[in-house]
Symmetry: C2
Subunit: 579 residues, 2 copies
């Protein structure tokens, strides 16, 4: 059998899924090498056989319009299209043909702010509003834009089981969650965001698929491999036999959000659990294809690798992501603010670590991690400061606590100060900008009894130590857990004002590296110079005096901060911007 | 617990194993985090407790001399030292203290030939001579040097089970196989090679450890991880908790061969089965540390990845290996020569593929591999031609056939012509240089009944299709299989002469890329211009005429080759060098 030349294209590289052609017909294409005989599409109007065009790819063009429901029948069983872009009745209902032609062309794509101007805002659609839909999020956008947020980052919306969930159990990567309002709802939200001056980043999960969908997806082809283990389920097949169509399943979905929905960037969940030995790692391929479909679209990786290759250009062997979530900055900051050192916070707690993180957030840059029990990470000096997203709260750091409680109130002003005045890209977690008191708890709505039980029990086991103290761990499957996590929008006005002032002050700071970083471990202070400005923080429990160059306080998290004689005097857990 | 600074060194980074200090004492150091209480060294003179110096590392200095035997007693059980450098009684005997101080300093290290001058010669110690020892290999070296070989590449010698084996089941990475003559034998062979003008490359296996040693090694610490699967056994723990001392186990062994034994380079077995998510891949670390201990020492990877990153410099995200084994060149050549397309040869058989391989041997450089069932590899234009080792035979391509038969005699001259006159680094497999007729079969001497049975049956299963034809698959455990694989040294004088002529002619060719490559698929000829020379090959079954620029035949594999009128006329399966 001859070797094909490199430039050749294969059937799976054409668009998979359903595409209305505008003439009363739709083209359907599916990769189904496991179908033992034919593949049939089941429409309301009847069945039609697809034609095998090679390598397990089947296609057909049939009379059919946007809005029509369809199933693929594999070995007698009707199943949703793996590349479905609409599951109006949920994970196990029919797929529906979507016409997104109009959206892609609607007005100029929103230009993402220059990286140094970005302020991200992570939100969960289900709990961001009372109604929990894309549509219901729209009225709140104006306020975010007024605050200075430049992009909302939406937690995963790929169709997941049931009506409530964080979204990391999604199965159909290209179908916006039905209970949120489906693809049309998402498109309206994106359009409204753009009209308000906000970009939209979408959280996407390529390290596993939700267990509820494994059987339906596997009926089509080898989407998974036994070569690797992930903590959340079977590893996706990115480098084993028949991996190319699985890579397309992912890449076409990534590209589709950008091209068809006007999404401005993707946040790739947990890429450290994406295993791929191919010459081009799947994360690098996603970044390449997203950048190719729209220059300036962002690819932000959640990377637990502390490895600068994630952001390095391809010419230097990198994946060419635009940025990564920088957990170490969070951990260093959080432990200084709260003193709690449970779990992976155990190795943090020194001002020196936050000082290091203000240069580059890889606090672990090759040293020994006592939590991981090995040397970890590499220095990232060659990656610019805009290559790191920092935060004091996010869905994981709040929601993956036993009770989903947010950062304690006394720590919030200084936390916001450090994040928003850092040289990095700041990310806020919905509600933190006004001191939301509702927790963000772990909730789900699993439709498979076994998975529901395993999730509930897993959660109880994980936090067994806490339950000893008498407070029950919230049941993830209970609707009340979801309801309790909805924003109350009851604000702490002083904190809300501070967020506004910090974001305004951020715009005055020069972009790029900090010019000088100093600290005193015993006195618990940190001082960071950025151009003419100085950020001064007191992480101690007592008032402290910090030597400084600045002559005036531009902004302080505590009104009792004072400046005199080349020193700034700061109350406990407070910060001041001098300049 | 504080984060250590990057420069900090840890107990496991000091030399592990036994080191005589020259004053009647030895320093012993072992990583044994699984020891539930103390760790004791058992010498003939008695027991001595080691002191825990942190992170599961224990050490002690005791009265003891080179040549003394010792065990480490872990939870009451005496076990060999994982970093042993001498197992005089085999895999399950005591470790012995080795003094290699003298060898390291003995005379100037052999300078490896410039890459374009290298000619490698792969040999298996057990079958290279009647006696099957390091010592017995020495008398044959002079002949190799006279032929023009510049380096011998020794199949793995890390202590493996029993007395016979290919060596890929080794357990104690730093102990030269006892049945070959142990470390002192190896040292003598290296010294003799250097005196003869030959460098020595050692084949080392870092993708798994032989199953016979897993229990003894695991008693010390978590050498393996469940994160990944390898085809040959449990994956080594290079990136999971407590991986650093496992990395040292490997790196200190790699460095030790170079520093203490004067070995000139390493051939890393099957790096595609070495899984590591660390910021520095273990293969990159081995290359860095080997190059650091001796500039010019070679690191050659057997890589089934077709990924140029293996040879790229670190500044471009590469592992910085000096070269890789280039299987595609072999496959393209072999199938043209023999027409057999079983197994992974299925996708080869076109002259175009060998033409492509003469440019860079990644025939698969991103195109679809029908055998692997996915797109595979990447172009390697930015890697110099000296970054590829090519061959027409090697231990795998001969030995991993049902009967271990060598390339058929009619194919041998043209095979040698293509390999030796290619721009790449040629590797010969012992005996091919004179037309050895003995097979090289798969043999073992497993000391565990279960492993022996599994090996025997696995082999029968793998080649069941062949056994149908009535010829029994050799029993790997039978001593006769090993004996049958020993070189007879009965030569085909014409072929032996050709090898000499080809190697001599090779030295005249300009180094670097081929200047022009042309072929005719139907007429089955290939023409490669290198400076003023032209290589012309006829892979067809008939005499053929090939247009050429050269006016004279410098060398031909068949005396009937003729040149006239701007054409060279070549008999079937023959080649001529014009110039």
């Amino acid at each position: 059998m001859p070797t094909e030349s490199r430039g050749a294209s294969y059937p799976w590289e054409r668009e998979l899924g359903a595409r209305p052609l505008g003439d009363g017909t739709c083209r359907l294409r599916v990769w189904a090498p496991r179908a033992s005989d034919s593949v049939v599409v089941r429409l309301t109007s009847g069945d039609a056989a697809l034609e095998h065009v090679g390598y397990g790819v089947y296609e057909v063009t049939v009379p059919c319009a946007a809005g029509d429901d369809y199933w693929f029948v594999i070995d007698g069983e009707p199943l949703p299209d793996p590349c479905t872009r609409w599951q109006p009745e949920g994970l196990r209902g029919p797929s529906r043909v979507l016409d997104s032609g109009a959206w892609g062309g609607a007005g100029p794509a929103f230009a993402v702010a220059r990286p140094e101007e970005l302020v991200l805002y992570e939100l969960h659609v289900g709990t961001f509003s009372r109604e929990g839909t894309f549509e219901a999020a729209i009225p709140h956008l104006r306020e975010l834009a007024a605050l200075g947020v430049r992009a909302i980052e939406i937690m995963p919306v790929a169709e997941f089981p049931g009506a409530r969930g964080w979204g990391y159990d999604g199965v159909y990567l290209s179908a916006a969650q039905s209970s949120y309002g489906g693809p049309e709802g998402l498109a309206r939200l994106v359009q409204a965001a753009h009209e308000t001056g906000l970009a939209v980043i979408l959280d996407v999960v390529y390290n596993h698929l939700g267990a509820s969908g494994v059987k339906a997806i596997e009926a089509f082809g080898p989407y998974f491999t036994e070569k690797y283990e992930t903590p959340w389920g079977r590893a996706m097949n990115y480098d084993d036999a028949d991996c190319d169509p699985v890579r397309e399943f992912v890449c076409q979905s990534a590209v589709g959000w950008i091209r068809d929905f006007g999404i401005d960037g993707l946040r790739l969940d947990a890429i450290h659990a994406i295993f791929d030995e191919s010459a081009e790692h799947i994360v690098a391929e996603v970044a390449r294809r997203v950048h190719a479909v729209r220059a300036g679209a962002l690819v932000i990786a959640e990377s637990g690798l502390n490895d600068p290759k994630v952001m390095r250009p391809r010419s230097r062997g990198g994946y060419a992501c635009d940025a990564e979530w920088a957990d170490d900055f969070h951990h260093a900051l959080r432990v200084l603010l709260t003193g709690y050192q449970e779990g992976y916070y155990v190795e943090f707690g020194r001002v020196a670590q936050l000082a290091k993180a203000f240069h580059r957030p890889h606090v672990h840059d090759g040293d020994y991690s006592t939590f991981r029990r090995h040397r970890f990470g590499a220095p990232a000096d060659d990656v610019s400061v805009e290559g790191f997203v920092v935060f004091a709260q996010n869905h994981d750091q709040v929601g993956n606590r036993a009770y989903g409680d947010r950062l304690p109130a006394p720590a919030r002003p200084l936390a916001a100060f450090c994040v928003l005045l850092s040289p990095f890209v700041p990310l806020l977690f919905m509600g933190e900008e006004y001191g939301e008191e509702a927790p963000f708890q772990f909730f789900s709505d699993h439709i498979d009894a076994e998975i529901a039980t395993a999730t509930r029990e897993g959660r109880r086991r994980e936090f067994a130590a806490f339950a000893q103290f008498g407070q029950e761990i919230p049941d993830p499957q209970a609707a009340s857990t979801f309801e309790a996590s909805k924003l109350t929008r009851s604000a702490d006005p002083a904190l809300a004002r501070l967020y506004g002032e910090l974001i305004a002050a951020r715009r005055e700071l020069p972009p790029g590296d900090a010019d000088e970083i100093a600290f005193d471990e015993d006195a618990r202070w940190l001082r960071v110079r950025r151009g003419e400005y100085e950020l001064v923080c007191n992480f101690g429990a007592d008032r402290t005096r910090v030597p400084c160059r600045g002559a005036a306080i531009r902004l302080a998290t505590d009104p009792e901060a004072q400046i005199e004689d080349g020193h700034v005097e700061l109350p406990a857990l407070s910060g001041a911007l001098l300049g």
